[in-house]
Amino acid sequence: MSIFSNAVHRAAQLVVFSSFIAISAPTMTAFAENADYKNWDDIVTAAKGSSVNWFMWGGADNINQYVSDWVGSEIKKKYGVTLNRVGINDTAEAVNIVLGEKQAGIDNKGTVDLIWINGGNFRTMKQGNLIFCNYLDLLPNNKLVNWQDSSIANDFGLPVDGCEVPWNRAQFAFAYDKKRTPTPPKSIASLIEWVKSNPGQFTYPAASDFNGSVFIRHVFYYAAGGPESLLGDFDQAKYNAVAPKAWAILNEMKPNLWREGKTYPNSITTLAQLYANQEVALYFNYDPAIFGINVENGTFPASTRSYGLENGTIANTNYVAIPYNSPRKAAAMILANELLSFAAQYTKAKPDVWGATPAIDLSKLDKKSRDAFNDLPRNPSVISPEALAKKSLPELNPQWISAIEKGWQKNVAE
């Protein structure tokens, strides 16, 4: 036997032996979390001294600070739970971690304990049976949530079914610099005209970006004459009727966009930089609070103002969810409950912290708390959520969204 084949033989033996150890290791460790808690006190006891890994989009420093500093110290103080915030670039990354762990058979010792999630990513997790559900009744703060509101009980048209805890409401809005652009376009129709007289001053991120996708959906709603006919499950016939009109609008806009529409920014952060650097005149975001935050930290000019569209803008709720294989579900539930508390929702509604719209029903709070919310000052560059909410449009089912994103890629981007 040659040296080489002998070495391979030995190596193969080593591989078999070590894979035996690797496979049996999880079964050798005794601890598997029993998530059948009977009541809140059991959860508090089980979570004490534990830590929780919260995977969330890390692209905004103010949000990161609020979570790591304020929320982290609250749950440490009250429950002895250590918050470990993990910043990611895209929620799909956390979903992929859980998915990969399920594929590898790691059903009890997952890395991810909580994910900031909604929409298509929630659908993916439901599709792959990756979520832990049916614990909402155990959370004391769950009574503050108005589950009768269909825009909370449904995440992009998919029933939440007790699998997610609401965190923020968000509604899409535009931003502009009133010094440079005194009369911005306030509807899709006037935007189409506006780009003709202001070439190169507008663009939107590609459909692969969350915010770019929602802008494209606004155009889709406009082409369909409103979202009503598009609600519900995906319908290929309806899509085929509306899509060509939407692509025609976007293709007509193309030569007057930034870089003549030959390329689109890869992400909303790039668009923010273009706006801040005065390369484009308009910016937009699902979370208008970000306009105020950027003005406060000096990225955007102080003369930034925001507005919603005349026909309304899309609003949704975002949530937190616990993966099925988290070994620290008690700590995750502590954290989810804390996020719903008046103190947490009020603190993040402050304009210098975040200015985020609360997901709890203010009418379920006592008068003092309700007044505190209503008395919050607002950064002038952020349009008031109440004004925006007067004209809010619902989200579509994730299948619609996938079809629209793919259609945009094929018919407009290429």
């Binding site: 070495a7 990513n121 993916t124 930089q273 650097n277």
Partner: protein
């Protein structure tokens, strides 16, 4: 302990890492590319994902763009690196400092360099503002587009900036080990400077240059972060295209295609490198 045991034992860590981690991961990826993902209910392997990828126009555009970026970056880096090495092997005042400056890039990560390129060369970047100061342009849009552009100028700049010292060090070490005896002989036999370089020096450093160039080519072909940061959205470089598909939320449709793309990238890199090596071996032997 007999020699065979020793060799096997010494080899086993490396082989284990490669077999379990790398080949294991590739195996999973390959299975998914065949549409085999039992956890979301896809049980019957088929080649649909490959067919769908290989019949899409965007794949060929991306492949062409990636090959173009890699080729241009590698060629430019080689030429500049040889030039730099030719200068650095002489002794002159300040040579140790020049050597140090030349190598500083090696320690700076690609991402940091990319952000530097963004800062300097974007249409609202440093040079654009300088041009605005000197009244050469009045709007960001008038500055030439070097980031997010179809010619991938920013990406190539970044790769050249980082790879020139890498290739340069290897070529310089090679040149210094050969010494200048051969070239002196060539000159004394009547060859001029260019002929000495082309017929004496270049063939000697060619093997080292070739392996460095192959490494650079393979790296730029499969690199994700630079085209993601500095590249345009469509057509995107192949690794960016694969990652975009990987991130898509509709698992059943997009994941197998993402894996198929990844397999194709690995295969293409392998083929290009082997082809390059074969062609070069023939040249070296002759």
């Amino acid at each position: 302990m007999s020699d065979r045991w020793k060799i096997a034992l010494l080899l086993s860590p490396a082989i284990l890492v490669i077999v379990i981690l790398f080949l294991g991961g590739m195996g999973f990826g390959f299975a998914q590319s065949l549409n085999y993902m039992p956890i979301i209910g896809l049980d019957s392997p088929n080649f649909d994902a490959y067919v769908s990828v290989l019949t899409s126009k965007s794949f060929y555009l991306s492949a062409f763009l990636t090959a173009y970026i890699s080729l241009v970056s590698t060629l430019l880096s080689c030429i500049i690196a040889i030039g730099a090495a030719l200068i650095l092997r002489r002794s002159f005042v300040g040579r140790p400092f020049a050597n140090f400056l030349f190598q500083v890039n090696l320690t700076i990560p690609h991402l940091v360099g990319a952000i530097g390129i963004l800062y300097l060369f974007s249409q609202s970047g440093f040079f654009a503002r300088l041009a605005h100061e000197f009244h050469l342009i009045s709007q960001p849009g008038e500055f030439p587009a070097m980031i997010y552009d179809p010619l991938a100028i920013g990406i190539i700049l970044q790769y050249v900036w980082k790879e020139v010292p890498f290739i340069g060090i290897i070529v310089l070490a090679n040149m210094q080990s050969f010494g200048d005896d051969y070239e002196t002989v060539g000159r004394s036999l009547g060859a001029n400077r260019w002929q000495t370089f082309r017929y004496v020096l270049l063939p000697m450093i060619f093997p080292g240059l070739l392996s460095a160039a192959m490494i650079v080519f393979a790296f730029t072909f499969g690199a994700y972060e630079i085209p993601a940061l500095l590249g345009q959205n469509h057509p995107a470089a192949l690794p960016v295209l694969a990652y975009q598909k990987f991130k898509e939320v509709d698992l059943g449709a997009a994941r197998p295609e993402a894996m198929a793309l990844a397999m194709i990238i690995a295969f293409l890199s392998g083929v290009l490198i082997l082809g390059y090596a074969w062609a070069a071996r023939r040249r070296i032997r002759s």
